[in-house]
């Protein structure tokens, strides 16, 4: 569908094209916000709270969040936990395997900035050093409600996306993961 999305912005030149574009934007964004499929991927403590968010009391599926085991079918990656340096390369790889448009939620203090392990020799101080992050969620670990709030914030962000600006991806995503020195 890349061709369609790439050429969709040309509608704007047609008469009434802006309205059509805005309508298609809202439709596309509705679809994307309504079915955010995360990757079943947990790193540390936060993963247990992430599991709790999928489970009976919090029930993430109400919002259409439906975990997929393979990165190829996922839209959003919850980086739930401490990113150790040994794990950094696999995370970059998984991120690259996800199809566009893709989003990242850094869940918990460790994924934001290193958390309680800010002075450790083997922890990446924040997953944003290796992949672009859309939503930062503080807490150690954040409650499942907080994770839902992060997803709602991500949905707000997705609603602002426009097909005009680069095939519907956020600006940082268009460039892919950051180059490592």
């Amino acid at each position: 569908m890349g061709i369609v999305l790439d050429n969709l912005s040309k509608i704007e030149t047609l008469p009434g094209g802006e309205i059509a574009l805005a309508t298609s934007d809202s439709l596309i964004n509705w679809a994307r916000t309504s079915s955010l499929w995360p990757l079943t991927f947990g790193l540390a403590c936060c993963a247990i709270e992430m599991m709790a968010a999928y489970a009976a009391r919090f029930d993430f599926e109400r919002m259409g969040v439906f975990p997929r085991p393979t990165p190829r079918q996922a839209d959003v990656m919850f980086v739930a936990g401490t990113v150790a340096k040994k794990m950094a390369e696999p995370i970059i790889r998984i991120y690259k395997q996800m199809p566009e448009p893709k989003f990242v939620i850094a869940m918990g203090g460790c994924a934001n900035c290193g958390g309680p392990f800010y002075d450790s020799y083997s922890v990446v101080k924040g997953v944003d050093k290796i992949i672009p992050v859309d939503v930062y969620l503080p807490g150690c670990p954040p409650r499942p409600e907080a994770l839902m709030y992060a997803v709602i914030k991500l949905q707000e962000k997705i609603r602002k996306m426009k097909v005009k600006n680069g095939s519907g991806a956020t600006p940082l995503q268009a460039t892919g993961s950051r180059k490592l020195s």
Partner: protein, 424 residues
């Protein structure tokens, strides 16, 4: 132990002991309250009322609409008369009509996928004391699958570097096309059948069997070891379970004396003693065994738990569709649910009398409504199994097939022969 050196100044934590979050009944309640009497909860009563209303509403609408087949026939003849009077050649009319019927038939698996995925998610959620999709769409996440489909359509389509690109691209096509073609001779009610061919049963199994090639293609071409293992597993599994599945139908064919599916369904009309319907499942021993073997083999054919080893999530990540993204993955999903629908339609025709009402006085509802109801109940069984059972191990799965199902289905054929001799 030495004396303290620095005493950090920290305010004492304040706990709201008397009513913490735990004790606020409006926002969170423990399952204990739920367990005592679920009917005291207003949501329960409301849900039950809505469900009862839905069923009666659908039944009423069905009664109002009545039989679809006899109503379509005069429409068709009127349109044909009109076209003939305008000088359109007869063969063009028949070709056009075939295409229109084909389009209607094509809608069946597509609409089914939209509905069944949502239904599965709701059923699974309610089995697991959750709610399932709630916010997308107007009512209980009714548009969830539409949103999913649209999103998958707009996802980037990835073909891995290591993949065999042409085969990788063709695999979903090879899976989906037979899944749709197989619907041709299957009735949806009295006279509601696309191609009423005499070898219908044979056709369905023959065409449906082609999909396994697509799955093997998907597994092999992805360039992923998990996919490869999934493809190999599915080859072994699907080919094996074809046998008991086909043999389970043989007693049905023997008793009915025809391969035409709608004829088999039609033969089961009527009642023994005015009460027990003459459905094949009520034939002593033979009918029940044939049904159970067919049901088990159908679950295995559709790659669903407990037989979902080709896409075993906890072992092979996602099995043969590990490397598929976007719409290609959606096609695999579509074909899976198309096969579930097909199996349920076949079971309804073979064992449950097709469109016949279960009790004589209930036949005010049209045949397609009964068909639909039976299919939905059977489909519910598929979903129910999925969310109740663990997964077989691959060698146990083969043992189960070759050492149990196949002998049983063969014995059942012999028993059917005895039954026919006894009946005659």
């Amino acid at each position: 132990m030495t004396e303290e050196t620095i005493q950090p100044k920290l305010s004492e934590p304040v706990f709201n002991h008397s009513n913490g979050r735990l004790l606020m009944p409006e926002t969170r309640y423990w399952p204990t309250q739920m367990w005592k009497s679920p009917w005291s909860l207003p949501t329960y009563r409301r849900g039950a009322a809505v469900l009862a209303g839905l069923i009666t509403g659908i039944a009423g609408a069905a009664w109002f609409l009545g039989e679809a087949g006899p109503r379509v026939a005069p429409l068709y003849s009127a349109a044909e008369q009109f076209a003939l009077s305008k000088g359109v050649p007869a063969f063009i009319i028949s070709v056009l009509w075939t295409f229109i019927k084909g389009a209607i038939l094509l809608a069946a698996p597509l609409v089914n996928a939209l509905f069944a995925v949502w239904w599965e998610r709701k059923i699974s959620a309610h089995i697991q004391s959750r709610m399932g999709p709630m916010y997308v769409g107007w009512w209980h996440g009714a548009l969830q699958t539409v949103a999913d489909g649209l999103k998958l359509l707009l996802k980037e389509d990835i073909i891995p570097e290591t993949a065999d690109k042409f085969v990788h691209m063709m695999a979903p096509v090879v899976v989906v096309i037979p899944a749709i073609l197989a619907f041709a001779p299957v009735p949806f009610g009295n006279e509601l059948v696309y191609a009423d061919i005499d070898i219908g049963t044979l056709y369905v199994f023959a065409v449906g069997g082609v999909s396994v090639v697509g799955i093997i293609m998907a597994g092999w071409s992805s360039g992923n070891k998990f996919s490869l293992l999934g493809g190999l597993r599915s080859a072994a599994q699907l080919v094996s379970y074809e046998l008991p599945r086909t043999f389970a139908v043989v007693p049905v064919i023997m008793l009915a004396g025809t391969l035409n599916i709608s004829a088999i369904a039609g033969l089961q009309a009527g009642y023994w003693g005015g009460i027990i319907p003459r459905w094949l499942i009520f034939y002593p021993v033979v009918g029940q065994i044939a049904f159970i073997v067919f049901l088990i083999a159908s679950v295995a054919e559709t790659n669903r738990i407990p037989f979902d080893i080709p896409e075993a999530e906890s072992e092979l990540v996602a099995g043969f569709n590990t490397e598929y993204s976007g719409m290609k993955f959606a096609l695999f999903f579509l074909s899976e649910f198309a096969y579930v629908l097909l199996s349920c339609l076949l079971m309804a025709s073979f064992f449950f009398g097709g469109g016949a009402a279960p009790l004589p006085f209930l036949d005010f509802l049209p045949s397609w409504a009964w068909f639909l109801g039976k299919v939905l109940i059977l489909m519910f069984c598929f979903l129910w199994f999925r969310w109740t059972f663990p997964r077989f191990r691959v060698d146990r799965l083969m043992d189960f097939n070759w050492k149990f199902l196949l002998p049983v289905s063969l014995l059942n054929i012999a028993a059917a022969g005895l039954l026919i001799w006894f009946l005659s």
